[in-house]
């Protein structure tokens, strides 16, 4: 097992910069998820680590070896691909064995033994004699993971491995991957565009946007303390509401002024900057109907435009002045389009971002003990 250390990693294709000077560390035994929208550079990063793409600049270490110029097979990695990359004319076992002779010095007997062990771990013994066309999507992906397992690499690289599976299977495979990681404790870098997958799988999650890392944190911290507006809107579904506001300070107190409401902010001293105009962020589940809010919390009015029953809750689209916000209300609330609602916010869960998208305020201070994250603030 080894850690992966990336410093200043950059990839340019002609005049397009796909990955722009990123730093990232995947610790020994850690499951790190690289998440971002399509085209953000996450796959390119993974492929550079695998050795499938040349590195334009920067350093890549696996363990204490600098591997920039090593052939893929010398890097002690195994990769699982989105489309499984199984050879259609070979059985499961042949797929797992093919290439083993090239990647290592094992004897045939040793390879057979490893295939047997991997198959046992993954519970795919009965699939070994079948060809990919006789396997379901989930079974193919298990064989593909088995192919990675038999190599006993220092590092596992997974490129959207669940994206070709249907929703139900994806949930099941997610759980199996988690369990597998717990058993093997292998250093794993996992790329996905699906924030739910990122949240459920990652020990830590790195959010990548436009070739740059926005934030690296454990899932809950990512959700509670988004470092940027991009992270705030990308992580969580439905997305966080973002409203343009003015910041007005009155002595030591600071409040946000929107055309429809004014909201004093608690813990005003945690502001790291204080521009005049900013963006106020609040998640749909942190807004509630005023009649359900205890005490003298300030409230504001909004007009319902659309309601979406999600089953376990009711998602309400409202107009607040010229802006739209989403509110999560209890399921079966009798609310209809056209209603005017009195809304209150959870004062513990307020966020403010500056014009560049950087977070300058979270209403509840971020605990120090709970985060062991590497420095995450993007470069200004």
């Amino acid at each position: 097992m080894s850690d992966i250390t990336i410093t200043g990693l950059t990839k340019r294709f002609d005049d397009v910069t796909a990955v722009d000077d990123i730093d990232l560390e995947v610790k020994n035994g850690e499951f790190l998820v690289l998440v971002g929208p399509s085209g953000c550079g996450k796959s390119t990063t993974l492929r550079m680590i695998a050795g499938l793409e040349d590195i334009t600049s920067g350093d890549l270490h696996i363990g204490d070896r600098r591997v920039n110029d090593l052939e893929p097979k010398e890097r002690s990695i195994a990769m699982v691909f989105q489309n499984y990359a199984l050879y259609p004319h070979m059985t499961g076992a042949e797929n797992m064995k093919f290439g083993m002779k090239s990647v290592s010095n094992y004897t045939s007997a040793e390879i057979d033994e490893r295939v047997r062990e991997a198959a046992e771990i993954l519970d795919i013994e009965e699939l070994l004699d079948r060809r990919p066309s006789e396997l379901s999507g989930g079974e193919r992906q298990r064989v593909a993971i088995g192919r990675a397992l038999v190599r006993e690499p220092d590092v596992f690289l997974l490129d959207e491995p669940l994206s070709n599976l249907d929703a139900k299977l994806r949930v099941q495979m997610r759980a199996e991957l988690l369990q597998l990681h717990r058993e093997l404790d292998a250093t794993t870098l996992y790329v996905t565009h699906d924030q739910t997958e990122a949240m459920t799988l990652g020990d830590r999650v790195a959010v990548l946007n436009d070739g740059e890392i926005e934030q690296v944190d454990p899932p809950q911290l990512l959700y509670d303390y988004p470092a940027t507006r991009f992270v705030a809107e990308f992580i969580g579904s439905p997305a966080m509401n973002i409203l343009p506001v003015e910041l007005v300070s009155d002595g030591s107190d600071i409040s946000v002024h929107h055309e429809q409401f004014e909201l004093p902010l608690p813990n005003a001293d945690s502001f790291t900057a204080q521009p005049k105009s900013a963006f106020f962020g609040i998640r749909p589940e942190d807004i509630s109907l005023a009649r359900n809010v205890a005490g003298d919390v300030p409230t504001f009015e909004a007009e319902v435009t659309v309601t979406e029953p999600l089953g376990e809750s009711l998602l309400i689209h409202c107009r607040v002045g010229d802006d739209e916000i989403h509110v999560k209300a209890a399921a079966r609330s009798s609310i209809d389009p056209g209603d005017r609602l009195e809304l209150g916010v959870d004062e513990e869960r307020l966020h403010v971002f500056d014009g560049t998208g950087e977070a300058i305020y979270h209403s509840s201070p971020r605990g120090h003990a709970s985060s062991d994250a590497v420095p995450t603030q993007p470069e200004p």
């Binding site: 695998a50 010398e74 990695i77 990769m79 691909f81 990359a85 290439g99 066309s133």
Partner: protein, 297 residues
């Protein structure tokens, strides 16, 4: 099919649309095709003015003619050489085209142009360049190997020369299909092998060729048909079947029997044999492509 995907009902319109194709196919393909069978059972006498039914006599003649036997054997050997030669060279070039990083589309055109090369042009050009006494290529080959080449009189040499020209002309067609087949192989298969450090040759034999096999089967059949049916201009322009019958391919013998010796019945029997060869090849292609269907997964 739902009613929307076949929106038109009129059987008369359908019939009218199919009619021109049917007229041509029946008049110029099916009718003469069937006539070939009938003619093969007859002989023409009195300078072609009368036909008499002779049963299987023409076939018996073919079966007992040593000239026909040798022409048949030469044609089979010729097809084998052309198919193997074409596939080997095309595979080499196609693999390079698949591996090359820049300029692949320019290289592709520069490699497939023989698809447009008329057989008669190929024959004329190489007849001269390989000419035993005037050919520049022959001259340098002789210098290089220290041998004396004279395929105007040496049978095996003539056979080889005609085969080389046949292969040259057929490269473009094969490369087109092979490159397409290689490019259809998912890139992640290549990358997965690259991570394991699998060598290029092993990749070619163990992965690419098996995955290309439906295309290769198709090309074996098409190249065989080509070698039997489309090589007439080569023989006609380069060797006239000689020396001493060394390049007397079935198609050339058929032409001579029919249009030089006016043995129409015998020539028709030879046509029937050619028909049997196409039919067998097409059947093989159909069967094999079905059995490779699982490679699609």
């Amino acid at each position: 099919m739902s009613e929307f995907t076949e929106p038109y009902e009129s059987k008369w319109q359908a019939f009218l649309l199919l009619l021109p194709t049917f007229i041509v196919l029946i008049a110029f393909l099916y009718y003469p095709g069937l006539e070939t069978f009938r003619l093969s059972l007859s002989q023409t006498i009195l300078l072609g003015s009368q036909k008499v039914f002779v049963g299987l006599e023409n076939y018996v003649t073919l079966a007992t003619s040593s000239e026909y036997h040798s022409s048949f054997a030469i044609s089979v050997a010729f097809a084998a050489v052309v198919v193997i030669g074409t596939l080997a060279v095309s595979l080499f070039v196609s693999y390079l085209l698949f591996e090359v990083d820049v300029g692949s589309s320019t290289y592709l055109i520069a490699a497939i142009w023989p698809y447009a090369l008329p057989t008669a042009v190929a024959a004329s050009v190489l007849l001269f360049l390989l000419h035993p006494s005037l050919g520049i290529i022959t001259y340098y080959l002789e210098q290089l190997t220290g041998t004396s080449l004279d395929w105007f009189t040496n049978g095996p040499q003539a056979f080889a020369v005609v085969a080389v020209v046949a292969i040259w002309k057929q490269l473009g067609y094969n490369i087109i299909f092979m490159v397409a087949a290689l490019n259809n192989i998912p890139e992640t298969l290549t990358e997965s092998a690259e991570i394991d450090g699998v060598g290029h040759l092993k990749m070619l034999y163990r992965v690419y060729i098996p995955l290309m096999s439906p295309t290769l089967v198709f090309l074996v059949v098409m190249d065989t048909i080509y070698a039997f049916f489309s090589t007439f201009p080569l023989v006609d322009l380069m060797t006239s079947g000689g020396p001493s019958g060394a390049t007397n391919l079935l198609i050339f013998k058929l032409y001579r029997d029919a249009f030089e010796f006016s043995s129409l019945g015998l020539a028709s029997a030879e046509s029937v044999v050619l028909f049997a060869i196409v039919a067998i090849l097409m059947y093989v292609q159909l069967r094999l492509s079905e059995s490779y269907a699982h490679y699609g997964g």
